[in-house]
């Protein structure tokens, strides 16, 4: 990381080849260390998926195509300079909010859960777009405000945040709503909102818990109780968590070996190719494999945090920081859920779970991060 920094700052003091390569990456607006981390994760992910899918090569090739498209989108997004994102911020936020509302209305008319919007060949989830536009919007809004932001500013941010989150939550897509909320909150946090306010909001939240509990429906209470004690409902929602704990726990230190996981191969572990794929990893690759996977995640997060710390503008640093924290929180929630320390919310493991729409937004986010890093003005020269 340090070496790369050095190259960027003093590009002409190194060998020709090195400078050529670095120029190429700079020219392509690609951050090599981040790309290496992502590729590593994707490769490990494909191996795990190969096993989890029961050696289904068709499924793997589909995932490969999806990943290739996502990497293409990442490269496209990295070409766009951050000032453009900043300029478009209010517009793209408004558009994605509108799309969310359209989905909500269509869903209300058809009286069914509706997440997708379809325009001929292309269909997409507006809530996924919101995962990107929310931090862009808030970062734009806060970038020309006084630091630390005033209470009034934060309340305005809160309103901007709460509307899309609520719309997404009633779709109902609690997992994505959670991520959108977190992406906004992380911007506000990084913008330097006062600790007193943070503590105050948290305290308020903690105090309101018994009141919320009081107003909850019995089935909602049952869901919470099942999270606290999965054995309560071993065949319903508790089944997922019991089976994934069995999968991970039976893996031990070294795992049962790649392609040898019985929990997933025998379909005891539900959704083992999508949300619960970490269970397969834990079962087949053991503690060592899990820790290696966590290390790759941590490396990507570390690189992202470094990039945001090196960002030169308020907008870019807030945006990069928020995107990388959102990436972290989505993998943390997923693994936390699979290992049974968090309740089961339908969130995939980023870049590893089989499935399309989240991987594209995720890579677009990394594209923005790369754009932020590669569009800096080289001060030293």
């Amino acid at each position: 990381m340090k070496r790369f920094n050095f190259i960027i700052r003093e590009p002409y003091q190194n060998s020709f080849l090195q400078s050529f390569l670095s120029r190429i990456w700079l020219y392509l607006h690609i951050d090599m260390p981040l790309l290496i981390g992502l590729l590593l994760l994707v490769i490990v992910g494909l191996f795990v998926l190969y096993s989890a899918s029961g050696m289904n090569l068709i499924l793997i090739s589909q995932q490969l195509i999806r990943i290739s498209i996502a990497f293409g989108i990442m490269i496209v997004f990295s070409q766009i300079p951050p000032r453009k994102y900043k300029a478009w911020a209010p517009w793209i936020f408004t558009i994605s909010l509108m799309l969310l509302l359209i989905v909500l209305i269509i869903g209300a008319i058809s009286k069914g859960a509706q997440r997708w919007l379809s325009f001929g060949l292309i269909s997409f989830q507006p809530s996924e777009i919101m995962k990107l536009t929310m931090p862009i919007m808030l970062a734009w809004y806060l970038s020309d405000k006084c630091f630390p932001p005033t209470l009034y500013t934060i309340i305005k941010c809160g309103v901007m945040l709460i509307i899309p989150v609520l719309i997404t939550a009633v779709q109902p897509d609690l997992g994505t709503a959670l991520i959108i909320a977190f992406s906004g909150i992380s911007v506000i946090f990084l913008a330097g909102v006062g600790w007193r306010l943070i503590c105050g909001v948290n305290a308020l939240g903690a105090l309101s818990l018994p009141i919320i509990w009081h107003f909850m429906h019995s089935y909602q209470r049952a869901r919470v109780l099942t999270f606290l004690n999965p054995e309560r409902d071993p065949l319903g929602s508790g089944y997922h968590i019991i089976q994934s704990k069995i999968a991970i726990g039976s893996g031990g230190l070294l795992g049962k070996g790649w392609l040898n996981g019985t929990q997933s191969r025998l379909h005891f572990l539900p959704e083992h190719a999508t949300d619960f794929i970490f269970g397969v990893c834990g079962e087949e690759l053991g503690l060592i494999g899990c820790v290696v996977l966590l290390a790759i995640f941590l490396y990507i997060v570390g690189r992202g945090l470094y990039i945001s710390s090196q960002a030169q503008e308020t907008f870019t640093r807030l945006l990069a920081g928020s995107l990388i924290l959102t990436f972290f929180i989505s993998f943390f929630i997923n693994i936390g859920m699979v290992t049974g320390i968090l309740p089961v919310v339908g969130l995939p493991l980023p870049l590893i779970s089989y499935g399309g729409s989240s991987i594209v937004t995720l890579m677009a986010g990394f594209g923005i991060i790369m754009s932020i890093h590669t569009h800096r003005k080289l001060l030293s020269s």
């Binding site: 630091f147 992380s186 990084l190 330097g192 893996g251 031990g252 820790v291 308020t314 290992t339």
Partner: protein, 621 residues
């Protein structure tokens, strides 16, 4: 805009942001640490627990049904075998919507209501992850049609099963019984572990009596299964121990001959080898096709069998209770001679009726000769079946002595044959009459006992055993159907004859007198033996016999040989009985025949005996 920008302190702002980043980084490291600790907890600390749970998860013990033992007759002719068939099975656990699945299956496979009833019956008693047959015995076409559509039916499979088949059908039904689907009644006394893979159980006859030996011991296979119930692979297998093969004492050819001799008449034939108690033939006519019950008989058919006036489901040979009629006479004669109440020379005048001194009631000889037989001694009385002689003898003996001799021959209680549903017959006593009817025993009751009428009842099996005892001159053996057992590893254990308390007489010549007289029943021309006409042309073997006519309707049909009763409704016609053993000197076979509402018992016996000796002569050649 510019004014605001001037007010911003970029350095301070950057420092604030970086402080926040550090806080975020610390939180991230803490959270990842939490994940790592969680993983260590799950994968190291609780590894043992989850490892066991995982093994339990994917490994399942599946019971394997043992093959049911085969049943052979004494000559090794197969009587009950297992035929492989394809059955359509459902694993209820793996089926989303059972009703819909069955409805869809009905479109491609013909499933009767009876199949459904039996399926739901089994469904209630089996564990839901075991496969339950919906239809046994699929045709090849149905199998093919199902396989084409199999993708539509997760949890529905075609299974190879063994289905019981009785090649001789109706002929052996009374002996073998049949197997049927396990029902609620069977479950009460069932070893549920041993029957966890079984669908069938003996319901009747030998199949039921020797259920334990025939069933065998359930086996297990440890299999790896996926959540949809498919067996991925078998890890290890404890093979089931097949049931023992049974060899019966029955000679199926003799059985067929007896069945054929009875033709459409209702009746029973029991043939026993006197020296061992081995039952050579045990026929109840009409019978039923046991194969109907294996696949599950439908309710309509079953009702028809149950309500038919011919009672095909009723095993007359062991459960049918009939009056002794004149069959009782040799036994009474034995008692009279043995107890010195009469001597072989003791003679009375038979006018064709009997009357107690000082009474007016006349007991007719309602069987034979209207004018009476004149002077009769015990030999002639047996040969011509003189009723007055035995009315008189009964009075002289008294009911207690009569009961005593009948009890010693085993009447009035179960023979202990290896069959269920055996009836005990009835030997009435004054005590019994008081208990049941509440009035005392009259001399008249004793008198009619002399010709085997009244309250007393016997079964064809008891008669056959007692005839064997006569043939053995007192040695008694328990009648049995099992000849030998062959375990699955080939070990054979023979069933030894079981001797019962013999009938000991103080005067051995009594045997001689009675048996000689019984020989006369068949051979004597002067006086004319009652069975002479049946065995008119001298058979190639010597035989001692006694006939009887069971009174059904009190119109005193006088002639047991005459067939001119055709204008009488069949259900009112008399039963005919016959007992006999042959050859007289070294008896090989004792036979008892009862034919309801028809006089052909003697003819049936003749055919059975002829066939038996024809067969054995043949074998020697």
């Amino acid at each position: 805009m510019t004014r605001k920008l001037i007010l911003k302190d970029y350095d301070q702002e950057k420092r604030l942001f970086q402080r926040r980043l550090i806080v975020a980084a610390i939180v991230i490291i803490l959270l990842v640490g939490l994940l790592v600790f969680r993983l260590i907890y799950l994968q190291i600390c609780q590894h043992e627990l989850y490892s066991t749970m995982s093994k339990k998860n994917r490994l399942e013990f599946l019971p394997i049904e043992p093959n049911r033992g085969l049943i052979y007759d004494r000559n090794g002719i197969l009587l009950a075998e297992d035929q492989p068939v394809f059955s359509l099975d459902i694993i209820p656990d793996k089926v989303q919507n059972l009703k819909k699945t069955i409805a869809d299956l009905q479109k491609i496979v013909n499933i009767s209501q009876n199949n459904l009833d039996q399926f739901y019956q089994a469904f209630r008693q089996h564990r839901t992850f075991s496969s339950i047959p919906l239809k046994l015995n699929l045709s090849d076409e149905e199998v093919a049609r199902f396989y084409v559509n199999q993708y539509q039916f997760p949890g529905v499979i075609i299974n190879a099963r063994m289905l019981r088949y009785y090649p001789l059908g109706e002929t052996m039904a009374g002996v073998l019984g049949y197997v049927g689907r396990i029902d609620n009644y069977d479950l009460i006394n069932l070893d549920s572990t041993n029957y966890s893979a079984s669908n069938f159980i003996g319901k009747n006859g030998i199949e039921k009596y020797y259920e334990q030996q025939l069933h065998g011991q359930v086996g297990y296979q440890q299999v790896e299964i996926d959540a949809s119930g498919r067996i991925v692979r078998t890890l290890n297998r404890t093979p089931p121990i097949p049931g023992d093969n049974l060899y019966l004492t029955v000679d199926s050819r003799l059985q067929s001959a007896a069945k054929k001799a009875l033709s459409h008449e209702r009746g029973a034939v029991v043939a026993i080898e006197p020296r061992s108690g081995e039952v050579l033939a045990l026929v109840s006519n009409p019978g039923f096709d046991p194969n109907l019950f294996v696949q599950g008989i439908d309710a309509k058919q079953y009702k028809k069998l149950l309500t038919s006036s011919a009672k095909p489901m009723y095993n007359r040979a062991i459960s049918g209770q009939y009056p002794f009629a004149s069959i009782i006479k040799p036994f009474l004669a034995l008692e009279g001679l043995d107890s010195d109440i009469i001597t072989p020379q003791y003679t009375i005048y038979d006018p064709g009726w009997f009357k107690l001194p000082n009474t007016n009631h006349i007991y007719l000889d309602w069987n034979w000769k209207s004018g009476g037989h004149g002077n009769v001694n015990v030999t002639k009385a047996i040969i011509v079946s003189s009723d007055p002689f035995f009315y008189n003898l009964a009075v002289m003996l008294g009911i207690n002595r009569i009961d005593d001799i009948l009890n010693r021959f085993g009447f009035g209680r179960l023979t202990g044959i290896d069959m269920l549903d055996e009836a005990s017959g009835l030997i009435p006593s004054p005590k019994w009459k008081m208990r049941v009817f509440g009035n005392s025993w009259y001399t008249g009751d004793t008198i009619i006992s002399g010709i085997g009428q009244g309250f007393m009842l016997t079964t064809p099996l008891q008669l056959a055993q007692a005839t064997g005892t006569l043939a053995n001159r007192g040695l008694r053996f328990k009648p049995h159907l099992l000849l030998k057992l062959q375990t699955s590893d080939g070990q054979i254990s023979d069933q030894e004859p079981v001797a019962e308390d013999p009938v000991m007489l103080s005067r051995n010549e009594a045997w001689h007198v009675v048996i000689k007289a019984m020989q006369g029943v068949v051979t004597s021309e002067q006086p004319w033996g009652t069975a002479r006409i049946r065995f008119g042309i001298h058979p190639k073997y010597t035989i001692a016999a006694k006939t009887g006519t069971g009174q059904v309707y009190s119109s005193r049909s006088r002639d047991e040989n005459e067939t001119d009763v055709t204008n009488m409704p069949k259900r009112l016609r008399n039963h005919s009985l016959f007992i006999g053993f042959a050859p007289v000197r070294h008896p090989q076979i004792a036979v008892a025949v009862i034919v309801e509402h028809s006089p052909i018992a003697g003819t049936v016996a003749r055919e059975v005996l002829d066939y038996y000796f024809g067969l054995h002569k043949h074998e020697k050649v």
